[in-house]
Subunit: 268 residues, 4 copies
Amino acid sequence: MLIPFEDKQIYVECHGEGAPIVVLNGIMMSTPSWKPFIPALSAQNTLILLDLLDQGQSSRMAEAYDITIQADVVKCVLDALKIDSTSLVGISYGASVAMNFALKYPRHVDKMVLFNCVPYTSPWLADIGKSWQLARVSPEAYYHATIPIIYSTDFYNQNLNWMSARKDFLTQHVFNNQDFLDAMDRLIDSAATHDVRDGLENIVAKTLIVGGNEDYLTPLPQQKYIYERIPGAKLVIIEGCGHAAMYEQPDVFTSLPVGFINCVSTVL
Amino acid sequence: MLIPFEDKQIYVECHGEGAPIVVLNGIMMSTPSWKPFIPALSAQNTLILLDLLDQGQSSRMAEAYDITIQADVVKCVLDALKIDSTSLVGISYGASVAMNFALKYPRHVDKMVLFNCVPYTSPWLADIGKSWQLARVSPEAYYHATIPIIYSTDFYNQNLNWMSARKDFLTQHVFNNQDFLDAMDRLIDSAATHDVRDGLENIVAKTLIVGGNEDYLTPLPQQKYIYERIPGAKLVIIEGCGHAAMYEQPDVFTSLPVGFINCVSTVL
Amino acid sequence: MLIPFEDKQIYVECHGEGAPIVVLNGIMMSTPSWKPFIPALSAQNTLILLDLLDQGQSSRMAEAYDITIQADVVKCVLDALKIDSTSLVGISYGASVAMNFALKYPRHVDKMVLFNCVPYTSPWLADIGKSWQLARVSPEAYYHATIPIIYSTDFYNQNLNWMSARKDFLTQHVFNNQDFLDAMDRLIDSAATHDVRDGLENIVAKTLIVGGNEDYLTPLPQQKYIYERIPGAKLVIIEGCGHAAMYEQPDVFTSLPVGFINCVSTVL
Amino acid sequence: MLIPFEDKQIYVECHGEGAPIVVLNGIMMSTPSWKPFIPALSAQNTLILLDLLDQGQSSRMAEAYDITIQADVVKCVLDALKIDSTSLVGISYGASVAMNFALKYPRHVDKMVLFNCVPYTSPWLADIGKSWQLARVSPEAYYHATIPIIYSTDFYNQNLNWMSARKDFLTQHVFNNQDFLDAMDRLIDSAATHDVRDGLENIVAKTLIVGGNEDYLTPLPQQKYIYERIPGAKLVIIEGCGHAAMYEQPDVFTSLPVGFINCVSTVL
């Protein structure tokens, strides 16, 4: 369905029944990315998938914007769906949106699971982002700039056929799409505005942070920084996993939020 | 309930409904240890708690035995409960029993979650075990030999009142109980017979291994050894967590098996 | 001085006196890169700096070549200097050359210190290499593709002025030099031929491997692979350090080889 | 030689020539422990070995004392040897003494190398210390309480003959010596007074911290705490190494201080 947000439209899908889980996409993702994950994530919950601004079937933006607008998008979607409080699962850029949401709308978030998150887009990460923007010269160059780095070395080397198919798909259908690349440029610029370092200690949502010890784009010290500051947050590390946890270890990827969000609390 | 095993009796409790999960105790534990965890672990599943031989309300053994007998105990309990196949959650000694069960009765185990596990009781670990046996001189000595090492430094330092209450309880009600200490001596000796190094590559159960980077008793390299050998096994590491994961981080402790065991598989 | 190698010339500098240490450059480096390090590295040793083929003041190659030719270059330099046996310090590409040398000329290497090394150029690393080759569209693009990734996030963020000066220098004097970029393309292709996985267990040189836990280009598991296979090798990890250890932590960078190479052995 | 300290005597040995290095023993050590290390550590330096109070051939104390008195011992030794400024190498307890010295006598310390150090003796570590004191019931019990935990699992398992010889020596000649055990009790009590958390940011000595990722007695987070607070400090981690770095990896153990202390500084 399409939900109006100011003069834009937000594409939203709901699957299943139960306590709501809103999944917030990584920067390159869109709702179809989640197709194989719907059974696992909607078995006990109402799974809400959505395209953020400049993603998938949601509206394109005309100019630069701050990442906090994406938190407003999420709030707008919740209002339209008449959901007062939800759990959030954010991946990378989506984890940034989740933390911004938790700071701006603290009453409306229950639990959060943050995959491969950063407290802010540091100059280092911003300069990696620029390397992506500078790689628009060819689909091949865009692939090489953006894709290998988000996989662990071992996964990439052990799944060459799968990676090759992915390269074909991305270079033939995505990285040659100027509308996609324009939107990516704006998304990258919006990511560069992300900075919740001063707010982490005020987050009240029960938070599970998930990192991979082979994440080269948002390395573990970033997640430890957040873990040490969000009160009561927990951190688990997936061994041998890179930035693209959902593709490398799909069952661990789904198990963690499904378990963390649905488990009743244990008091010793 | 009591279930006969040869000339012994095994104490068993069942809670909840759904696909079965058998929890296998750590060496010092018994079914009452799980009281606070029952709501979380039985919400979606039939939770089966049991005391292994020489634990809690199960029979004491007269002489030395091999840890594989505990796998037979588990099989006997499953038969009595008419359960053909189950998921197993094993903690430390219980994880050793789980792996032995998975090797001896591969058709009867579905998924396994192994907390703080070792592939064998190495001379190093056996000599730590002897330090426990040599500390029977006083409840105080037994506490100091066995308890601090199983907690992460930070948890221990930040929960001194809780640790102090635990010390009072253990020294006044447990570590002064000669029957308990005799049973512990035999359990430690049986642990020393644990060695599944040659069998790990044959385990077919879908396995999640959980370690803590502050586990000083069964340090992470042990779990990595197992992770690299059980086909398809996954490993997650709880940041800042010691050997006693269930007490240090109860919500992460329950989330992991509840999520892993109940999630439907995702195929990319 | 220039030393002939087949129909090529190899640029070599010697500094100081004592047992020889040959330093083997990373892929983008050349002898001037070592200027600030000469006092530390030549205080107790004859420090031999050299440009490998396609580096600095050594000859350019006309066509593709295997990395093993660089090992022959090193042997040729040793012969010309009448050095029978030497210690080797290799950085990244230079560490690959060092391992190839140790396999081909085992009698001529004493100790080795390998910084940020890989056992082979995996498809993952080769595809990162291609991202560099595809970034020749502008000096800016080349900088963004190659430089941020070789620094740890924290070092980069905390040394923005230094990085900015480096960016100016590299974009204005190096990455706009087509001769340099052509040579880089060939060096990258030669790196892709590196594979000593089958030979590591035959290396007899006393080896110290040095990694950084923030190395995103040659991550730690690569060094652990080598550490587990070279007999008697040791591995130390510099906390918080990226791929460019020499620039991030120059005093640790020099201390490790100077200490390891010059210390007399301790026998317990 | 014996150097008077108040009404006590301090045993001191000097070896070699050059800039001084004072080695500060771990809690169970004494000057003979260093015999095999003298060639490596004195090749370029005046190596000063000493027994702290209650160690080896230095005086026994009559009652409880604060660890800071050991810093005064070191200062007294330096005065007697007419050394104005020295480098310090401290192991565990000796690293605590070194940090206390650096805070009390900042003008008199040049570089410091701290192996397996802690910022304070936390309740957790103090309770491990008590387990040692409670294990005086037999040499066997003392061995099992104190020795396995200070070795990495792998080293212990792979050097069983060496460990066995060590056990024989310790149980027959050391752990049955009541004078030694009385002194150990006091040393453990003095260690419990160690706390430099508030002073670390004031330390001006150039400091290298060395940890082992298999150190179960002073685990890595302790060294990271110190690393993050001593200005300019560096941290290197020896892979696979436990608390007893000097016995597990003697050549790395000597290389690190010899390299760090003697290298001239590199300025980029």
